[in-house]
């Protein structure tokens, strides 16, 4: 079973994504900030990660950089309420950029494509 790491500082979002991805048949681990996500990566080899950009402490860009340092092959989908990080060169290391929406279709399709 493919493993997905969901990183978001909002618990409701973490819960929502977890339920959605589990429904799609993946095993989901959640992390509330950058450091705990990196800690999780120490224990588990993930097949995909969704990453929030605006987070307290270590922000999404920095987290992304460190994640890529740890595992260059890990696909990362940026899932942010903000569009402007698309322009941030730091975000280009990601594999997809999806603006958060109540309609999960786009996110589910992207995840399905990468892991399908």
């Amino acid at each position: 079973m493919k493993k997905i790491l969901v990183i978001d500082d909002e618990e409701n979002i973490r819960q929502l994504y977890k339920e959605e991805f589990e429904e799609m048949g993946f095993e989901v681990t959640v992390a509330g900030d950058g450091p705990s996500a990196l800690a999780a990566m120490e224990k588990v080899k993930f097949d995909l990660a969704t990453l929030d950009m605006r987070m307290e402490g270590m922000d999404g860009i920095e987290t992304l950089r460190r994640m890529k340092e740890k595992d260059k092959g890990l696909p990362v989908i940026i899932s942010s309420a903000y569009e402007q990080y698309k322009n941030d060169f730091g975000s280009w290391a990601s594999d997809a950029y999806i603006v958060k929406s109540a309609d999960m279709t786009a996110l589910r399709e992207t995840v399905g494509k990468i892991l399908g």
Partner: protein, 793 residues
């Protein structure tokens, strides 16, 4: 009583009778010689008189001699028997005069008919008045009593001549007084100079029995400024040529010597080509010791020469004439001055009117209309038929027609004049009513606005008026090399004038005027007045231009300020809205996401309907947020006027330690002219950091880092150049190095250069990489040189 005594008494009583008769002197003298011939019982007698010059004796009457010689035969004193007796003042008896060395034979007289003669001087005290001769056809043994008789007779004749001379003097004085009276009457009756001169000339000529008279007045320093030509008057057509030939020379002699000059047939002034028997007197006209002219009379009628008393008389006339002439000249000058003062006063009052009109507005268009109307208006205006105004553009160096006033052709002219009759005689009133600014003279205005030429001397008179800062009065355009065919055809006139509009040494433009319809020549006075008017107009135009510029500037600043405030407000508002939108988006995702999940689990139709409502409302809210964010995104980024050089300095300071450690020397050349620059300085700093770190990594074993900033001339761009002396780049690397994840280095994300390019592109710039001849790579960033100043129109 002896016969001789009786004879003597008879003779003397007869002479006395003749003397007392009321006949003319000439007739008396003739009767006297007859009486002497009879009384002395001889065959002839003659009488010589000293002429008025006092230097000659002439034959005044004779019996027994040819009558043709009377009035013509003349001897200088001391020559001939008559001259000798007159000079020596002693009687002389010659029984054989032909053998006497003093005798001069003149065949015309018929003296050869006589054998002997006796002569006695006619004396008046010490003065000799003449000589009386008694002539004998037979040889005459002259006794002392004969001599006594001749001498006594001579004394008697002296009385006759003296009384005759006295009478003549009295008569002459009377006549002179009459003449002088007449002249002085004339002098006081007229102040017209030329009339006065001809009157004096005529009267002088008549009084002196001269054939003609001329008067020359000198051009005086005082009159010179009034441009009065030297005056000249001539009386007597007969002496016209003579005066033209020698008048000037005679006048010069009189002026040089400040003395009257008399020349005649016997005078030594032979270099003057005076005709035989002619004579002339020139007397300087002196006023307060100053020579103001010369009066000259020519040729005494009756073949005589002018004598000393003529000269005295003319001098008397000259004295009065000088005063009268000076008075008349003064009067003329006064009149001239008064006329000029009046003209000047009228001009000044016009200028005052115009000046008030000019100061009534700062609107350039209105001002030009007032100026041109002043130029073309009659009455309080300058009264030209048409006028155009051209202004110079200093930036483009062109002369551009701005406005034209006046009719374009005869049709319009006729219409305009019939309409204008009796309307608006006062400029200020015209301005007040606003009529002045109504649209009119459309064709002429279009013609003026069609004129546009570079300020090049080759362009002819209009350009020259500006370049040489001087007016031109073109009288014959077709013959003037300064007027091209194009301009001539455009204006449709052969005469026009152009004056420069000069304010503070700067030529603002040109006023062109013509009198197409009245064909009145443009005079020097017109030009002077136009120039005065132009200088006044120039100041007004200058003020209006400054005012207009100031207005534009103020408006620009106000607009810019508004824009700035607006964009700053918008930026702040945008940031806030984006913040809110994003903060809302997260909970919306939760609400919407979970509601969807809920929808999948709910079977109850009512609940399903409520869930659908929630979901659609969430979708609507997300739509609103997206639209808003879309709009906000287009608001300007965080750009400001920044100092890019300062950013470069900051970066170099930041990496100073590292550069030192790596043994990299920095060569920088930062051009202050690139600041300020409208950029997002944080982003730009990032771009430059990327290039600097890139360069440092290329020079692991040391080298030179060069940083240059400069304006690219003529392109509106600035450049930032960052070069290294490292390993350089391969052609393949040059193509790929800006793509994401491309890297030749072991470390790094491969995003540095793509990010840099993105930043530069977002700023509307470009980035290129090149290989340096001396090894290493050089990156050149080109950015548009933009400041907050709004772009030109």
């Amino acid at each position: 009583m002896k016969t001789t005594e009786k004879t003597e008494l008879q003779l003397l009583s007869e002479i006395s009778r003749i003397s007392n008769s009321s006949i003319e002197l000439q007739e008396k003298l003739q009767r006297i010689v007859e009486a002497v011939t009879r009384g002395m019982e001889k065959d002839g007698a003659s009488l010589f008189l000293i002429d008025r010059s006092g230097r000659n004796v002439y034959l005044a009457a004779a019996i027994g001699l040819n009558q043709e010689s009377v009035g013509k035969l003349s001897f200088p004193l001391g020559q001939g028997i008559a001259g000798w007796v007159a000079e020596q003042k002693v009687p002389l008896a010659l029984e054989d005069p032909f053998s006497d060395p003093r005798f001069q034979y003149v065949p015309e007289t018929g003296i050869e008919r006589f054998k002997s003669l006796a002569a006695a001087p006619i004396l008046d005290g010490e003065n000799c008045l003449g000589v009386i001769f008694v002539l004998s056809a037979a040889v005459w043994h002259i006794t002392s009593s004969d001599i006594t008789l001749v001498t006594t007779t001579a004394n008697q004749i002296s009385g006759v001549i003296r009384s005759a001379q006295l009478l003549r003097n009295v008569q002459q004085r009377l006549s002179e007084l009459g003449t002088i009276h007449e002249i002085s009457m004339a002098m006081t009756s007229t102040l017209d100079l030329s009339q006065l001169l001809s009157l004096i000339a005529k009267n002088s000529a008549q009084a002196l029995h001269a054939e003609g008279c001329s008067i020359r007045l000198l051009k005086l320093p005082e009159t010179q400024s009034l441009e009065t030509a030297p005056a000249y008057s001539l009386y007597g057509e007969g002496v016209k040529d003579l005066d033209a030939r020698i008048g000037e020379s005679l006048a010069d002699m009189a002026i040089q010597g400040r003395q009257p000059v008399l020349i005649g047939s016997s005078s030594p002034q032979t270099q003057l080509p005076l005709p035989a028997g002619g004579s002339a007197i020139s007397v300087p006209l002196l006023f307060h010791e100053r020579v103001i002219g010369v009066i000259t009379v020519y040729n005494k009628q009756g073949g005589q020469s002018f004598a000393e008393d003529d000269l005295q008389f003319l001098s008397t006339i000259a004295g009065g004439a000088a005063t009268a002439v000076e008075n008349a000249a003064m009067y003329e000058r006064m009149q001239d001055l008064a006329l000029k003062a009046e003209t000047r006063a009228r001009e000044l009052s016009m200028l005052f009117d115009i000046s008030s009109a000019l100061s009534s507005t700062l609107n350039l268009d209105r001002l030009l209309r007032i100026i041109l109307t002043s130029v073309t208006m009659g009455g309080t205006g300058l009264g030209f038929n048409r006028a155009m105004l051209l202004l110079t553009n200093e930036r483009s160096n062109f002369l551009q027609g701005m406005m034209g006033v006046g009719p374009i052709n005869w049709d319009e002219a006729g219409k305009a004049w019939s309409e204008a009759t009796g309307k608006h005689t006062n400029l200020m009133e015209w301005i007040r009513t606003g009529d002045l600014f109504e649209r009119r003279d459309v064709a002429m205005n279009a013609l003026a606005r069609g004129i546009r030429m570079p300020l090049d001397p080759k362009e002819g008179v209009l350009a020259l008026t500006v370049l040489e800062k001087r007016p031109y009065n073109i009288i014959d355009a077709s013959a003037s090399p300064l007027v091209g065919r194009k301009l001539r055809e455009l204006l449709g006139v052969n005469s026009f004038a152009a004056v420069p509009l000069i304010a503070k040494d700067r030529v603002l433009g040109v006023i062109v005027v013509d009198n197409m319809f009245t064909q009145r020549p443009i005079t020097d006075r017109d030009m002077r007045f136009l120039a005065t008017f132009a200088s006044q107009s120039s100041l007004a135009i200058e003020n209006a231009i400054i005012h207009t510029n100031l207005e534009t500037l103020t408006r620009d600043i106000r607009t810019m300020h508004k824009q700035l405030v607006h964009s700053e407000k918008m930026a702040a508002l945008g940031t806030m809205m984006a913040e809110i939108a994003h903060e809302i988006r997260n909970p919306l995702v939760s609400i919407g996401g979970f509601t969807r999940r809920l929808a999948k689990k709910v079977r109850n139709e009512d609940t399903k309907r409520y869930i659908d409502i929630i979901m659609s409302e969430v979708t609507r809210l997300e739509g609103i947020i997206n639209d808003n964010l879309q709009y906000i995104k287009e608001a300007p980024a965080q750009r400001g006027e920044e100092d890019l050089n300062a950013a470069v300095e900051d970066i170099l300071t930041l990496y100073a330690e590292e550069l030192l450690q790596k043994n990299i020397r920095v060569e920088k050349s930062l051009d202050a002219a690139i600041s300020p620059l409208l950029i997002d300085v944080a982003q730009m700093r990032q771009a430059i950091i990327n290039l600097v770190t890139n360069a440092m990594e290329a020079m692991e074993s040391g080298g030179v880092l060069t940083i240059r900033t400069y304006r690219i001339p003529g392109s509106g761009q600035v450049a930032v150049e960052i070069g290294d002396t490292g390993v350089g780049v391969t052609p393949q690397a040059m193509e790929s190095m800006f793509n994401p994840y491309y890297t030749t280095k072991q470390r790094g994300t491969g995003l540095g250069l793509p990010i840099t390019r993105r930043i530069i592109t977002a700023h509307g710039g470009t980035i290129e990489v090149g290989r340096r001849d001396e090894g290493g790579a050089v990156f050149t960033i080109k950015l548009p040189y933009m400041t907050r100043k709004p772009a030109g129109p």
